[in-house]
């Protein structure tokens, strides 16, 4: 695995690892009830978020299966952290990775998450040689579902009541995409516009 070169740049975002000074930006979205509804690790107040930030700051590279890389989504203009995306390397032999993401609702609906996820998928497939990426989300989480479909992920699983989530029976969806599926779409996108040939 070649060395990781960060930060990543997209059209409107810088994707970099978390820093100590990101606490207030992270708190602005991570402690919101609308965010808490769908997350596995709950952060109800500043102290919880500070702890979470410590964990996220440790997610700097994928050295062995089980490791997570988390990148803050920083807007190029105002350098504000508006969300984050993470990649968890689950299995080396079969090249499995799980992606998670959060965005501050004040900035959602503008394509930032899609932009960040696309960059993360490129990184996963090209740099980390992931074979299959999957994303889990709650069955009620329509924004995530739409986003997954837009990015070309397939719905692979729809579990009903297969576990308790935040004290209730869950409804969990799994979306997945294989390296060959993702490469095809990005290659199509990357074709340069054909200039007029005399």
């Amino acid at each position: 695995m070649t060395s990781l070169s960060l930060p990543l740049q997209t059209d409107r975002l810088i994707l970099r690892t978390f820093e100590r000074t990101d606490a207030s930006d992270l708190c602005a979205y991570h402690a919101l009830p609308s965010m808490q509804r769908y997350v596995f690790t709950r952060t109800r107040n500043e102290a919880d978020v500070a702890e979470a930030l410590q964990v996220l700051r440790g997610h700097v590279s994928l050295q062995r299966p089980g490791d997570t890389l988390t990148l803050a989504m920083v807007r190029k203009g105002d350098k504000k952290v508006i969300g984050h995306v993470s990649l968890n390397w689950q299995d080396a032999t079969s090249g499995q990775g799980e992606v998670r993401f959060c965005i501050n609702p004040s900035f959602s609906g503008q394509g930032y998450t899609a932009e960040a996820l696309s960059a993360m998928f490129d990184l996963a497939f090209d740099q980390f040689r992931i074979h299959r990426l999957f994303v889990r989300c709650d069955g009620r989480n329509h924004h995530s579902i739409k986003l997954m479909q837009k990015l070309g992920l397939r719905l692979e699983a729809h579990y009903r009541e297969h576990a308790l989530f935040q004290g209730e029976w869950d409804e969990e969806l799994h979306f997945a995409i294989l390296d060959r599926e993702w490469n095809r779409s990005s290659k199509v996108k990357e074709l340069p516009l054909r200039r007029q040939v005399a």
Binding site: H131, A157, H158, A163, A176, L178
Partner: protein, 194 residues
């Protein structure tokens, strides 16, 4: 939540009972076959491996704690011929989850024996064991197995592609599931099934 059935369990045509040491040859008869091993996690078994497997199964008769597994020999009622096995695994205590499975000697496919045995197991799972949801999994190309799941009223909840490598090959896996209410409703609608 626990399961201590009184054996044998009888159905119209079958007897489900714990394994005994005398079952090694009958188990070897199907576990040595490539067409059986193809859809199981391991390779075809030697007779020694079957002896070991039977040895393990002898004590797998109750569910005391999460992770426990009940594996029962499936015998024809009339001839006492051992034709396969059914299993129930207690997957989660907190969320009351279980998993069923079956292996049937190919010579006895197509008679509804596995459906009959699996019905008994689901009755135990949702009855005495008080599980909330039971899953079954199989390779996507194993039509007889997933059609059996569908006959039992299980729904296809997952279709995974390339999510692991089994015996050197990318897998394609189905997961089927049924909830307690769904099973009980079916039973009340067709009291003769299962």
């Amino acid at each position: 939540m626990a399961l201590y059935p009184t054996y044998p369990l009888l159905t119209e045509r079958l007897r489900l009972r714990p394994f005994t040491r005398g079952d090694v040859d009958a188990v070897f008869a199907y576990r040595q076959r490539e067409d059986v091993a193809r859809y199981l996690f391991g390779a075809a078994l030697s007779r020694e491996e079957c002896a070991l497997a039977v040895q393990q199964r002898i004590n797998q008769t109750t569910l005391d704690k999460e992770g426990d597994k009940v594996v029962l020999a499936m015998e024809l009622g009339q001839t006492s011929q051992l034709i396969g096995e059914v299993s129930l695994i207690w997957r989660s205590l907190e969320s009351e989850q279980g998993e069923v499975g079956w292996i049937l000697h190919p010579d006895y496919h197509g008679h509804g024996y596995a459906t009959e045995a699996a019905g008994v197991i689901l009755n135990l799972a949702f009855g005495e064991a008080q599980l909330h949801r039971v899953v079954a999994r199989c390779a996507a190309e194993n039509g007889p197995s997933f059609r059996l799941m569908e006959r039992l009223g299980m729904r296809r909840e997952a279709h995974f592609r390339d999510h692991s490598i089994t015996k050197g090959v990318w897998d394609e896996e189905f997961i089927y599931a049924i909830l307690r209410d769904e099973w009980l409703n079916r039973q009340s609608q067709s009291p003769t099934s299962g």
